[in-house]
Amino acid sequence: MFAMTLHEFDFKLADYYGLLLFVGVVIGFAVILLSLSQIINPLKTTKVKESPYESGMDPIGDARQKFDVKFYIIAILFLVFDIELLFLYPWAVAAGGDHPAIPGGFGDIVFIEVLLFFASLLVAYIYAYRKGVFRWR
């Protein structure tokens, strides 16, 4: 259907050296920036300045309080869906395009399997929906 799509399958580790170098440079930049400002700027602390901000009042109790369990549930659901999604990328890369990596794009059997995979995702989604996880009260 499409005209030519080009694939480069040769993996070259040398492509990643620049990335590694960049990571080093960025981390160095952040460290230098933070430590330099720590050295340069003046530091005069008072008792009031040191206390955590609570709208000008004296802080009441510990800041690290219990929080709602809904945040945990959202995090668990995130793990489920994000990992399911991550499994779909390799398939999309290998089977997609007009000249798929595997000639014929894995064929219909694998496609049906992927649809079943989607269905499993949908089952989890509907279950969570019906359980009222997304109803944020």
């Binding site: 259907m1 005209a3 799509t5 080009l6 694939h7 480069e8 399958f9 993996f11 070259k12 040398a14 492509d15 990643y16 050296y17 620049g18 990335l19 170098l21 960049f22 990571v23 960025v26 981390i27 930049f29 952040a30 460290v31 920036l33 933070l34 400002s37 720590q38 700027n41 530091l43 602390t45 300045k49 040191e50 206390s51 955590p52 901000y53 609570e54 802080p59 800041a63 690290r64 309080q65 929080f67 945040f71 959202i74 995090a75 995130f78 869906f81 994000d82 999604l85 990328y89 999309a92 890369v93 089977a95 997609g96 395009g97 000249h99 794009g105 496609f111 649809l115 997304f134 944020w136």
Partner: protein, 477 residues
């Protein structure tokens, strides 16, 4: 990696750093200017370059162009006090994480025309017999001078191409400019532009930004910070799923995660916003949330949480969060442009056949960056156009609205692409399906009752009509 490549990479890193940091500074100025214009104010117009110089002196007070520099100096010189009960290690770590994850994600983003080069010999492996497929062997580039010219125009400075060309066909004259072998140098617009994991890398690294926010909130030992961090973490992870889902069809159509390959595909065919309008909408919404921009800026909404997770941060540490946020905006805007708006490509004007050489790269660079700036200006206009969501609306939008839309869009488009019911025309089923899915989900959501009543905590949903203003107030007047 030889010394030439090292120098090339270091120079690219320097250019990227300078470019991004300049844009971060002037982006904040642009934001203040746009905010001022929207509110019919003037905005910063005092700080200019008052240097009594022939060139810079012209910019004296001009549009407040000196403001970002003044801000930067101030970030260094202002006091950076540390509250008493903070967790020191994480308190220092958080801004560094926020800044560096945002910057690292930029590594694979191309910002100019870095063409995917046609393979010289198509060495696709036939899995059935585990050896190069003889059917593909005829595609040897370049066979003629015309093909070599095409490759040269697409990517004149990639050394291995020219080396391979020399190996394939010793009779071909390799290009030389002023007696200098061009094959030995390389021009690139991107730090690691040849990575095949492109989009996935950006997603992986930018989702690490959650750690910066959570560490900041937890270590600050302030209630505002903690609540801001909680909201931020829930928001960021929730919007990552629609974000990942929105580009799945794009990846499926191109068959590659490489951003250059995606741009090249759009240059040959049509922009993906035509095929995937719904995917584009989902991605746009998700990046607004991922960048903590209004209407999704609940992690740091100043009316409720003072500053959210960076309440207790001052001076340079605060600036690190700011820079991280703006860098994230730049990265995601580049992604949006590269994946849905054709990258450096403008139909009929700047196309694949646009003249190569310095003119071609310059034009493509300007087009790419111009589109990115337009997206950022859109970010800033939306800030003053839409109201902030409530938190339950925010989570509802991600998990009920965008998630459903994403699943519908992806499954429908993949089925269309695989079965192709209308032959060549079936591509046009994709936008049609997008519109149908959007209308269906919107219509269904309109039949649902309004947001849950906060004062009734019973499990049973209460379908009640809210009293009108007339009913509430009218009788008493």
């Amino acid at each position: 990696m030889n010394i030439t490549e090292l120098v090339v990479v270091l120079v690219t890193i320097g250019i990227v750093f300078a470019g991004v940091m300049t844009f971060v500074g002037y982006g904040s100025l642009l934001e203040r200017k746009i905010s001022a214009w929207v509110q019919d104010r003037i905005g910063p117009n005092r700080v200019g370059f008052d240097l009594n110089q022939p060139i810079l002196g012209l910019f004296k007070g001009f549009f407040g162009l000196g403001q970002p520099l003044a801000d930067g100096v101030k970030f260094f010189l202002k006091e950076e006090f540390i509250p008493k009960n903070v967790d020191k290690v994480f308190y220092f770590l958080a801004p560094a994480v926020a800044l560096s994850t945002a910057m690292i994600a930029f590594a694979v983003v191309p910002f100019g025309s870095t063409s995917v080069v046609p393979p010289l010999v198509d060495n696709r492996i036939d899995l059935a017999v585990s050896q190069p497929n003889p059917n593909y062997q005829h595609r040897v580039y370049p066979r003629t001078h015309g093909e070599l010219d095409k490759i040269r125009a697409a990517n004149p400075f990639r050394s291995e191409i020219l080396d391979q060309a020399r190996n394939q066909n010793p009779n071909i004259e390799l290009p030389k400019v002023a007696g200098f072998d061009l094959g030995r140098s390389e021009v690139r617009f991107g730090i690691a532009p040849h990575l095949d994991i492109g989009v996935l890398f950006v997603f992986a690294v930018s989702s690490l930004a959650v750690y910066g926010v959570v560490l900041a909130g937890w270590s600050s030992n302030s209630k505002y910070s903690l609540f801001g961090a909680l909201r931020a973490s829930a928001q960021l992870i929730s919007y990552e799923i629609p974000m990942g889902m929105s580009i799945l069809v794009v990846v499926f159509m191109v068959g590659s995660l490489n951003l250059q390959a995606i741009v090249e595909f759009q240059a040959r065919h049509t922009w993906f916003i035509v095929y995937q309008p719904l995917g584009c909408l989902l991605f746009l919404t998700a990046i607004f949330a991922e960048c903590n921009r209004l209407p999704f800026d609940l992690p740091e909404c100043e009316q409720e949480l003072v500053g959210g997770y960076h309440t207790e941060y001052s001076s340079m540490k605060f600036a690190c969060f700011m820079m991280g946020e703006y860098t994230h905006m730049v990265t995601t805007s580049f992604l949006l442009v590269a994946m849905f708006f054709g990258g450096w490509n403008i139909p009929f004007l700047v196309t694949q056949d646009f003249p190569g050489g310095a003119l071609g790269w310059g034009a493509k660079l300007v087009v790419f960056c111009g589109k990115m700036v337009a997206v950022i200006a859109f970010f800033m206009l939306v800030r003053w156009s839409l109201l902030r969501f409530r938190f339950d609306q925010l989570m509802g939008l991600a998990w009920k609205g965008l998630m459903t839309l994403g699943i519908l869009n992806t499954v429908g488009a993949v089925v269309i692409l695989q079965t192709r019911p209308l032959g060549e025309l079936s591509l046009w089923l994709l936008p049609a399906w997008s519109v149908i899915a959007l209308l269906a989900v919107t219509g269904y959501s309109m039949t649902r009752p309004k947001a849950p009543n906060r004062f009734r905590t019973g499990i049973k949903r209460v379908d009640q009509r809210l009293p009108s203003h007339q009913e509430l107030v009218g009788n008493r007047v």
